[in-house]
Amino acid sequence: MDTRKDSEVSPARRRLSRRRFIQVSALAGGGLLLAFELPVRERLAQAAALVSGTHGAGPPGFAPNAYIRLTPDGVVTLWVAKSEMGQGVMTAMPMLLAEEMDADWAAVRIEQAPSTPAFGQQGTGGSTSVRQSWQPLRHAGATARAMLVAAAAAQWKVAPGDCHAKAGAVVGPQGRKAGFGALAAAAARLPVPDQVKLKDPKNYTLIGKPVPRVDAAPKTNGQAVFGIDVQVPGMLVASVTQCPAFGGKLAHVDDRAARAIPGVHAVLPISSGVAVVANDFWTAKKGRDALKITWDLGPNARLDDAAIAALLHKAAQEPGVRAWKVGAGDAAVAAAQAPGGKLVEASYTLPFLAHATMEPMNCTAHVQKDRCDIWAPTQAQTFNQGTASRITGLPETAIHVHTTFLGGGFGRRFEQDFVAQAVEISKAVARPVKVVWLREDDMRHDFYRPANLALMRAALGADGTLRAWSHKVVGPSIMARVFPSRVRNGLDMGAVDGAVELPYALPNAETRYVMCNTPVPVGFWRSVGHSINGFTVESFMDEIAHAAGQDPYRFRRALLGRDKRALQTLDTAAAMAGWGKPLPAGHFHGIAMHRGFGSTVTQVAEVSVNPAGEVTVHRVSCAVDCGQVVNPNTVQAQMESAIVYGLSAALLDGIRLRDGGVVQANFDTYRVLRFDATPHVDVRIIQSGEAPGGIGEPGTPPIAPAVTNAVFAATGKRVRSLPIRAETLKA
């Protein structure tokens, strides 16, 4: 019997037999191999087609992209095609499998999948890894368990129903017991069952339990191999200098001094700049420093912050396209200005932001006549194949991507620029080449979180209730660059994420989008549109609450009556923080709630502001409903992480522009949060019993508005632009 709820099965799956998605094969030496399919986001498939020009939308069929191997020694190995960048995917994914397989956790291993066609499309982002794997990995585990039980029952000549699996073994009548390893060969000869029974969640032994990360030890003794650590025999190291202005290009390079340095092999103008190739990193950097380059700064040589602001404000005058409408939409704002009512208006601005992963961009490539190997800390293996294929002319099947640990991803490692450089240079010098970016390159040549301007209007009735809500999102589109086919009629749905389908019960609401692309390259930054719109929506909600003369928590509460999950996170975070109860002198609370990636998060920030206008965040109370929790350790860690990431952006620096490029170059001027400004974070996980939501990203959006709402409580000053500037809050 299959206990799956219909709602958990996608329509496409329901039509096709499960048999097509799991296949078994015997292994030499008595092992078992199960191949199965994890769903891939539609946009990834579309994008791969776009990038490579070779992937068609083929007929649906069996295309396994995950494998389980059970060897006679009882070791269960799962290959996963997801990148570990700190989010805990290497621990969570085998947990799903081992739970339903009743495997012995100590005998479970995980291997990073190579990018062969056998593993299908590969990419990691959008807080999707566990959400996509939740059903198929558990089904694969349950299938393996059922086959092992059947194999044991046949050997013992008893009914399978009289046997059960436990901790890596099948247990039968009269105390019979056989390890999974001993049963693997027999199980591999059995047909794959059409129906398997999944566990009742109350019987879980791994899912929902705080299982230690499998990658903790190698990350405490220096053994973990990141992209920058890759060693390939005969490898050279390259440093690439790029034009400081966006859209500029090389005019002239005098490389005589660089070439004279012992250990410098080559100086190559490449499509993105000038590469110095040397025996080692430091020699390459010395060579780079010795280059005399004249850049043609191109059409954006005068671009600066004021120019970006002017572009956004001009675009804001356009009507844009509708992304969401409830009731009479925007028209209701004007109509609702009944006598005694109130119109609230505000605009918010946000800067471009760099990702600033701790590991600067890097990639190692080895282009040979018939193949190309890429070793990279990457979030987008399939795109890497497309990129390398275009540069080398080799078919994608000849491009082999070897994924290392990622020293932070946050969306940056979805991009192809660093991979393209390594492939281009290796092709030119016919040697393996590792490209290592300086921190300065990484800061100045990012794909930035888009800058944003938001125009907000709301109408309050005479009774203080919210009658109508209007939000115009003005900013660059990431999709227009990355997946243009997903932009329809000028609407980039990613740009309005978190500004549409709000959990609040709004009688009239409208969200519009005005695309305003600028010369600054933009990309996915932890939580993408949500971090932008979450700030705007939750700040403005606070403004409206105050305009209505109501407590911001109770005002939100009244609007969340029909959304139990949102309400519960709101109530929980408020209770954790002691909302409304006395705080230490000079401390104030701010609250913000946000939904995204299938999860809902409310945060309450406890903040003080000193007479100089400097903001200190003392404590954050965070309540998260991410549905079924797979690993509570990871959920808590990701909330802590997302809060610190968001606080850097709220409290410290945005990217500043001058002379066509980025002003900042390193951590001295693009400051990120350190120990001294990190608040104490309490996390409470709400068990709603729903399917798992994402956890890598949804903790970021609420923190900035929670802090600025607290700043308002402390000072009466509304922060409508980030980062917070002390001079605007001086007493």
């Binding site: 960048m85 700190g86 989010q87 805990g88 230690p212 990360r213 990658d215 903790a216 030890a217 190698p218 990350k219 405490t220 003794n221 220096g222 053994q223 973990a224 191999v225 990141f226 920058i228 650590d229 060693q231 190291v237 080692d280 990193f281 430091w282 600033a356 992963t357 701790m358 590991e359 600067p360 640990f405 990622l406 020293g407 932070g408 991803g409 946050f410 290592v436 300086l438 921190r439 300065e440 350790n633 860690a637 802590e640 992480s641 997302a642 809060i643 610190v644 990431y645 390193n666 951590f667 001295d668 990120v672 949060l673 350190r674 120990f675 001294d676 990190t678 104490h680 974070v681």
Partner: protein, 153 residues
């Protein structure tokens, strides 16, 4: 030729004396646990011990390390290092893990100098080490945990 003692092993290296210790450790000695993060001593990812003191190897010319004992994450030993590494695993500190070699090298010296550090002392000592995954709260807890384990042990 520069003579360099790294993790108790003496190497004779043909490198330019101005080469940062970081790149000698990584590219010449192939010890990859010490990380490059910023190159300007602003992030702490490259922290190693020079005669037991924490230094930013990205800003330490190899010539100035000659004659000293260099210790990297691969060679760090002693009760404090062991307690720190164990506490790091127990407290589930690492996320992406890239900065953690530097964090551990710094925390080890902190505990050697200040066996029972206060929160303020931890902040003061560790503030030069950036973690973009935001593991600061867990690092703080792990340092307290390691201190307690050393006190007991």
């Amino acid at each position: 030729m520069i003579k360099l003692d790294v993790n108790g092993k003496v190497h004779e290296l043909d490198v330019s004396p101005d080469t940062p210790l970081l790149w000698v450790i990584r590219d010449h000695l192939k010890l990859m646990g010490t990380k490059y993060g910023c190159g300007i001593a602003a992030c702490g990812a490259c922290t190693v011990h020079l005669d037991g003191q924490p230094v930013r190897s990205c800003q330490t010319p190899v010539s100035s390390a000659a004659g000293s004992k260099v210790t990297t994450i691969e060679g760090v030993q002693g009760p404090e290092a062991k307690a720190v590494q164990e506490a790091w695993i127990a407290a589930e500190v690492p996320q992406c893990g890239y900065c953690q070699s530097g964090q551990i090298m710094a925390a080890t010296v902190l505990l050697r100098q200040t066996p029972k550090p206060t929160d303020a002392q931890i902040t003061d000592f560790m503030n030069g080490n950036i973690c973009r995954c935001g593991t600061y709260q867990r690092i703080r807890a792990a340092i307290h945990q390691a201190a307690a384990a050393l006190h007991k042990g």
